[in-house]
């Protein structure tokens, strides 16, 4: 299913001598492979930044009562280290691999939306720069990567560091959500014939499921940080208990994002391992269906475990026990994967290449980290070890010993495909052993430190017996890790110049990316091999023993997915969850025993009139679409214009309402009603405005005659968004004006 799309108009100054070369060609690229490499390189840069931050912290902690860093400097370092590693390293790296390999693995020419892909990338360095700009503007944020309120509120964190953190996360989130939408649309709509969903390589499947997780989890973060921003900038008190707000609501909202986030950081790594282990064991993954199904189970369950980060907050034992139950349940599908990977090794013909070494180390280290995670699910144990170095050890085992080791495995596995040359195996072994030794030295001892009472996020500690020694060991291990990264860099640099030429399929692997050249041509494939199973290249090489005997060709797919509709529906799902979170906040602050002043000034009747206009605009848009489909172009233009007018009337009405409330002295910061009211209606209004801009663009295109040829995709897609905005208003209007207004 090769898509054609109009290439962007060429501009003289961006022309290099040979098209596709030169610096600007990388800046302007929309090719998924180049964008993937850009992600990987930028993430690697931030890996160095975050790593250096870690090393400086470890220097401070090497001795008791050390005075290398001031407390504030240390606090900024650990905040930036966590934020950088999560948002600027692990996520972009995995997205980079996904960008590069998902289209190749499904036999597509590129991603569904190449220009959206490029935009998504550029939000990444932009967000990273925004975050680090805080260093020049009064100091980096110093309240931890999860920024608990009220410590992150202005009275306790007065420098703008937290504000930059919020803005950076928002920008990065836009990039992540866009990429995920792109990936979902790509996987659903651009698969080559014969590449059914049941035959997807596990890396693609896990990235696919992960993308759903991402588009549903990030809205929770966005809701939380918007509320914090309103608190800090507009003097509201969402999270200030001293003024009726709730510090705990921040935690609920944050961890509703935060827990799926850790799975977002690990599922694609699971995908890499699920490719690497079978190839170097020379047998297919053991139990593809269970591995694929358990991925879905993990993704769904991950939304139901968040409060296990809050066992010590005092939510009450019923709440704690339910979250303990769900947290233990999520261990089952994860365990299934570990057993399936181990069973893949069993009976194989194992080649211990560097990539495989990293994969095996992943298996053992992630199991260890996962098991320490189970100890946390046992609530009373959590009550002892949470917020100690035992926790720090746990999450580094799953995120570094897990995800990052998976990334290293992926680098050694896919470097030949991306560059045409193999990485040196001998240097690779040195890299591997240094990494394993350094990593385990740095983090294993931290389990003991936690059990001995050392809490986390401390810039120094007293001279207890054993603490100094264990911390010193950890520091030495961290430095070995740091050096190992240099070995990797060396390996990459040297192999780029002098590495052994790889050819198309140096590992004798079986998935589609190995049918392309190394590196692949810009359009990826000249010709695809026949696709009759999960391992097309195996089937090609072993026609007498294919994976799915009897299948000459996969039965035709039940339905063809329209990438624009899929993309828009994903976006709508994401925004729907965002508004659900906002409405939850609104209900929380307004439906309790002490109503705040302000709601009595709302006028449901007047707003009802404007509501009618907005809902009518959905009707008029539907009429416009019908006219267009039946060929009545002028009718289409008229109804479209009517939609715009009605939408504009709604916004005007909302503006008038705001004006009246301002006259009465109501501001965002006045009380919790006003803060939540302006937030919910304001953000909805913003969505209406964006919709109107979209409609204007459609109108302009329509006036230019763009839709006369029957290509009405844009009209239908924007229509979906417009109807969504109306549905949201129904929910908002009901909650705020109908149910919520006190007479």
């Amino acid at each position: 299913m090769n898509e054609t799309y109009a290439s962007p108009p060429s501009v003289e100054i961006f022309h290099a001598k040979n098209a596709g070369e030169g610096f600007f060609s990388w800046v302007a690229t929309v090719d998924h492979k180049r964008i993937g490499i850009l992600y990987l390189l930028t993430a690697f840069f931030f890996f160095g930044v975050g790593g250096l931050e870690a090393l400086v912290m470890r220097l401070q902690l090497a001795k008791p009562n050390n005075h290398l860093l001031s407390p504030d400097a240390y606090d900024q370092l650990f905040t930036m280290h966590g934020t950088t590693m999560i948002f600027l390293v692990v996520m972009p790296t995995l997205i980079g691999f996904a960008n590069y390999f998902v289209p190749l693995m499904i036999g597509a020419k590129d991603m569904a939306f190449p220009r959206l892909n490029a935009m998504s990338y550029w939000f990444f360095p932009f967000g990273g720069l925004l975050l680090h700009f805080s260093l020049l503007a009064g100091g980096a944020p110093s309240v931890g990567w999860f920024s608990y309120a009220p410590l992150s509120e202005t009275p306790f964190a007065s420098s703008p560091g937290v504000d930059y953190w919020i803005l950076a996360l928002f920008a990065l989130g836009i990039g992540s959500i866009s990429t995920s939408i792109n990936l979902i649309a790509t996987v659903l709509a651009l698969r080559a014939p014969g590449m059914s969903i049941r035959r997807l390589p596990l890396f693609t499947w896990m990235v696919f499921v992960n993308s759903f997780l991402l588009i549903m989890a990030l809205p929770a973060l966005n809701a939380a940080i918007i509320m914090l921003f309103i608190d800090r900038q507009l003097d509201a008190h969402f999270f200030m208990p001293s003024h009726g707000g709730s510090a705990i609501l921040w935690q609920h909202f944050f961890w509703t994002f935060g827990h799926p986030e850790v799975y977002i950081m690990v599922l694609p790594a699971f995908g890499i391992i699920s490719e690497v282990i079978p190839v170097f064991s020379r047998k297919p993954i053991f139990g593809y269906e269970f591995v694929a199904g358990s991925t879905v189970a993990i993704a769904l369950l991950s939304f139901g475990v968040w409060a296990h980060h809050m066992f010590a907050v005092g939510l009450g034992q019923p709440m704690d026990i339910f979250f303990a139950a769900s947290s233990m349940m999520i261990a089952v599908p994860t365990g299934v994967k570990v057993f399936n990977w181990s069973a893949t090794l069993w009976g194989g013909s194992i080649r211990l290449t560097t990539s495989m070494l990293f994969a095996v180390a992943f298996l053992l280290q992630f199991t260890l980290g996962g098991l320490s995670g189970i100890t946390f699910a046992v609530v009373p144990v959590d009550w002892q070890v949470t917020d100690t170095y035992y926790l720090v050890a746990h999450f580094h085992y799953v995120l570094f010993g897990g995800s990052l080791f998976g990334v290293f495995a992926g680098i050694y596995y896919w470097f030949p495909k991306m560059t045409g040359r193999l990485l040196s195996e001998s240097v690779g072994k040195v890299h591997f052993w240094m990494t394993v030794i350094g990593f385990n030295m740095a983090f294993f001892v931290q389990h003991f430190l936690g059990l001995m009472g050392m809490t986390r996020r401390v810039y120094t500690y007293p001279d207890f017996p054993g603490w100094g020694l264990l911390n010193m060991i950890s520091t030495v291990g961290a430095f070995i890790l740091g050096l190992s990264v240099l070995v990797l860099v060396w390996n990459i640099v040297v192999s780029l110049r002098r590495g052994v030429l790889a050819g198309d399929n140096p590992w004798n692997a079986w998935t589609l990316e190995w049918a392309a050249s190394s590196p692949p041509a810009e359009h990826n494939f000249d010709q695809l091999p026949p696709l009759h199973g999960r391992r097309p290249l195996w089937d090609l090489a072993h026609p007498e023993n294919p994976d799915e005997p009897g299948a000459i060709q996969e039965e035709p797919e039940g339905k063809k997915y329209n990438k624009n509709k899929v993309g828009m529906m994903c976006f709508i799902a994401s925004e729907a969850f965002f508004f659900i979170m906002l409405l939850i906040a609104y209900i929380f602050y307004n439906f309790s025993q002490h109503p705040n002043t302000g709601s009595e000034w709302l006028d449901p009747l007047k707003t009802g009139v404007f509501t009618f206009c907005l809902l009518a605009s959905s009707f008029t848009y539907w009429r416009a679409e019908k006219k267009l489909e039946s060929g009545n172009y002028n009718g289409f233009l008229v109804w479209l214009a009517a939609t715009l007018v009605l939408g504009g009337v709604f916004l005007t009405g909302q503006g008038m309402e705001y004006f009246e409330l301002f006259q009465k002295g109501l501001r965002a910061g006045t009380n919790l009603f006003s803060a939540s009211f302006f937030m919910v209606t304001g953000l909805h209004g913003l969505h209406v405005l964006i919709g109107l801009i979209g409609l204007l663009i459609v109108l302009a295109m329509a006036l230019a005659g763009d839709f006369k040829n029957g290509k009405i995709e844009a009209v239908k897609t924007i229509g979906l968004y417009w109807h969504f905005v109306d549905v949201v208003w129904i929910a908002v209007f009901t909650t705020i004006y109908l149910v919520g207004v006190r007479t």
């Binding site: 005075h67 309240v143 047998k283 233990m328 057993f339 181990s342 211990l352 189970i374």
Partner: protein, 353 residues
Amino acid sequence: MDLKSTVRLNYGIRIIFARNKNSRELKTEPNLLNHSAVARGPMNHFLNSVFHSESPQAGAISNLFVLVLIVCLVILFIVTAMVAFSLFRFRYKPGQTDPKPSHGNWKLETAWTVIPFFVLIWLLTLTARGMKQSDPEPNRKPDLLVISHQWWWEARYPQTGVITANEIHIPVGATWLVALESADVIHDFWVPRLGPKMDVVPGHPNRLWLEADKPGSYLGTCSEFCGAQHAQMHFLVIAQPAAEYEAWQKQQEKPAARLLTGSSRKGAKLFQQMTCVNCHTVNGTNAKGQAAPDLTHFASRETLGAVILSNTPENLALWLKNPQEIKPAILMPNLKLTDNQVGSLTDYLESLQ
């Protein structure tokens, strides 16, 4: 002896030796200790580990933890053994062809889905039981109110009205209910050897049980990042036999000591004149500030600064000279006192038994 090395606190030696409250002999500079000499008995905070429990609550958790760890180690062993065995037994030997593809065995996979499920159900029942044992529902009014501040702990005894800071005395063997409230941000009250931790959340009062089986001095620490001096926000829980505890209570209920020699009288006057009274309380004087630790019986406490220095005149002098040097970013400013002023104030404060 420079400031930094004096500031270094070695808990065991200092606290054991600092029991001599009234003697004013100079304490020696602590060297890096031979720890085995003092790593004994309940007085030592060294082994502040969760496995060295001294209360029924911590004991229940410790036992549960050991059991859970055994289960985890067994699972880790199984996986490691399987992987290690595979790596050796099924290692590629030159000339080997690829093995016959096997795509899975759903019976086996179902087994290793269902069996862990039941193991976890079992762990869940243990969890529920452990929760009841280590944190039963509160059923009466609290015996102690702890209010956390950035970066010190206020302790109030509701029955007697005693207010102190950073050092909590409880009678041995008594099961106390502690109410936890915060004056500013989220903190966390944790005494590893005595029981689970509990967040102290502004706007959301919490409860925790506190009990010690043996007399001794147990180290607690703040366990939720609360700002610049989170690392130095500790507290002591001192469990005493009933008679000793009663004596301590009686002493604490009295207003501030009034034995004033020349130097401490000067100190008292300085204390009243300078801004000290805006933040600190000394019962029986007109110092009624609420923002900082109550100093009425300051000299009876073993440590200062939220358990970062032992309470000796030298350390107090260092603190008064420049608290920001010892605990940067705290609310107590550098008052730029002269050495004389420091000396007088030290004498005064050390007289407040």
